[in-house]
């Protein structure tokens, strides 16, 4: 069964089209990265999936209609929408008490275990914690919920690289198993690249690219072309061209590896490079 299934998902704010007929299918156990520039519609899409906003079109999440069956959906789905949304007046111990009190699938001991690994004090108020610690606390709470779907919207925005790395490492090591589905929206692509199983680029309310990471890795190749073979390489139809230290680097979609190898040095591009190439073409 698909965990998320959307057909023709549309959402407008006045004249602004935030989602322009999005089709989407996420199977159980996948880790989907939703990547796009600011204002691309990532948050709107996630809000629709979480039943936070009404929408047009068909949408089923865990077999439920997120807008009309939101209360049931929240038993099986959890999310971190944005950094630092934990109430600033709350004490860490109160946050644990509260979530334990209202969520039937919350494992308090597990959350306490995650907090043991941090320097967060039980008696501290959220306002006294650093931004990174607030993110750690929120992650500890969410990872202790036995949810089928976890949605993360820019969960590490504004955190330094150590916290960002640690955030995704704990997610990967302590939370993910094959039955859990995760959707992460971000525009900080590099750190989550290794975590993902699927990738989706979204821009101006439309899906620009959707593929699995396996597919992504076999599709895209980047060549640092030998100076005398630039013309020949360009003839193969690169989707993007940039220059690095005076040498031309071409990005190809679906080109033959061996043919490219004859023209220069071939490497697999990161998601960020392909993102820039694909998005650049649509601007």
């Amino acid at each position: 069964m698909a965990v998320i299934e959307a057909r023709g998902l549309r959402k407008t704010f006045g004249r602004t089209v935030a989602l322009d007929g999005v089709d989407l299918r996420v199977e159980e156990g996948r880790i989907l990265g939703l990547i796009g520039p600011n204002g691309a519609g990532k948050t709107t899409a996630l809000n629709a999936i979480l039943g936070l906003t009404p929408y047009r079109g068909e949408l089923k999440v865990l077999g439920l209609d997120p807008w009309t069956e939101r209360d049931r959906l929240m038993l099986d789905a959890s999310f971190i929408a944005d950094v630092a949304v934990l109430p600033r007046w709350m004490r860490v111990s109160q946050a644990l008490d509260y979530v334990a009190g209202v969520h039937p699938r919350f494992d308090r001991a597990r959350a306490e275990g995650f907090l043991e690994k941090t320097t967060i004090q039980r008696a501290s108020k959220v306002r006294e914690l650093s931004k990174g610690m607030v993110a750690q606390l929120h992650l500890a709470l969410v990872m202790a919920i036995d949810a089928k779907l976890l949605v993360l919207d820019e969960p590490t925005l504004g955190l330094d690289i150590l916290f960002r790395k640690q955030f995704f490492d704990s997610l990967l090591n302590d939370y993910l198993d094959r039955s859990r589905t995760v959707v992460v929206a971000t525009h900080q692509v590099e750190e989550i690249q290794d975590v993902l199983t699927d990738l989706m680029f979204i821009d101006q309310g439309r899906i620009v690219l959707a593929c699995s990471m396996d597919e992504f890795e076999s599709r895209y190749l980047e060549v640092m072309v030998n100076p005398d073979q630039v013309a020949a390489a360009r003839a193969l139809g690169p989707i993007h061209e940039r220059s690095v230290f005076g040498r031309t680097v071409l990005l190809f979609d679906g080109a033959d590896h061996d043919r490219l190898a004859a023209l220069g040095e071939v490497r697999r591009p990161g998601v960020a490079e392909v993102f820039l190439a694909v998005m650049g073409g649509f601007r």
Partner: protein
């Protein structure tokens, strides 16, 4: 552990809004202090009860108890009003609504838990605090009388500690029911307004009163507002001279319950809460 969303939602309101329980306690402390200042005159007043200046003596003994209760009621009202104005706006302003909504607590449970603060929690709190204040005052008064060798009986007969507990309980319930539409309206505005909830909550009424005055030269709307605030006094109680010394005789629950405006107000409250629940579902962080 079985999830108890309502219970924990109310508790979290008390964590966040500590003024809900600190304010009544602080005011009660103040009332006790003020009472302590008046204790030197207590033996004289008790002796006067059998003398010519009986009415003033009665007021002197009884007054502090009534004042402590009224102070508690007024505190509950002020705290309730400011609590409601922020209840559904604050969580959108600090974006914590995104955290609350990530948990399996419905909008209905949340709004009702917030409504229960001025409608249930504050009245009960003020009842307990006022009853405790009265108890302290009776005990202190008794000690003072015993120390000065004055007989205690007449004071107890005046104060009627047990009847006064019942009267206070009745009063907090009556006031909560009477003021419910105010709290319902404030919660609705709090869920709707992006900022300056107080302005949006009050301005329409000022405007209506002004327009009425200009168009018709009358002041019916202001008297309606006054009734909304203080109408419970004359509906729930009767103040007659012969009711003195018979506190339970002052309570008129049947008159209160047969007042149509009470029921209209409660229906309005319910409507406001329904709208507030819908607003919480749809409104986004500010």
């Amino acid at each position: 552990m079985k999830p108890r969303p309502m219970y924990w939602s109310v508790r979290r309101e008390l964590w966040e809004n500590r003024s809900v329980w600190i304010a009544p306690l602080a005011v009660a402390g103040l009332a006790v202090l003020a009472f302590l200042v008046t204790t030197p005159t207590l033996p004289g007043s008790v002796r006067d009860l059998s003398g010519s200046d009986m009415v003033n003596a009665h007021l002197a003994i009884h007054g502090p108890y009534g004042a402590a209760a009224m102070l508690g009621f007024a505190t509950a009202f002020v705290v309730g009003v400011f609590y409601c104005l922020d209840a559904l706006q604050g969580e959108r302003r600090d974006r914590s609504i995104l955290f609350w909504k990530s948990l399996p607590v419905s909008d209905r449970t949340t709004v009702l838990s917030k409504a229960s603060i001025p409608l249930v929690v504050l009245p009960l709190l003020v009842f307990v605090v006022t009853a405790a204040t009265h108890l302290v005052m009776v005990l202190v008064g008794t000690a003072v009388l015993l120390a000065t060798g004055t007989s205690v009986g007449p004071m107890w007969a005046q104060v009627e500690p047990f009847q006064s507990v019942l009267a206070v309980l009745y009063a907090v319930i009556a006031i909560a029911l009477w003021h419910a539409p105010i709290y319902g309206w404030l919660l609705l505005v709090s869920g709707w307004a992006r900022r300056t909830a107080l302005l949006w909550a009050v301005l329409p009424f000022v405007a209506i009163a002004g327009v009425e005055r200009i168009l018709f030269g009358t002041t019916r709307f202001p008297s309606f507002l006054k009734d909304l605030l203080l109408g419970w006094v004359t509906r729930a109680f009767v103040f007659q001279d012969d009711a003195m010394g018979n506190m339970l005789g002052m309570l008129t629950p049947w008159r209160l319950l047969s007042t149509p405006s009470l029921w209209i107000g409660l229906a309005f409250t319910a409507a406001c809460l329904v709208v507030a629940i819908r607003l919480r579902r749809q409104r986004e962080p500010i």
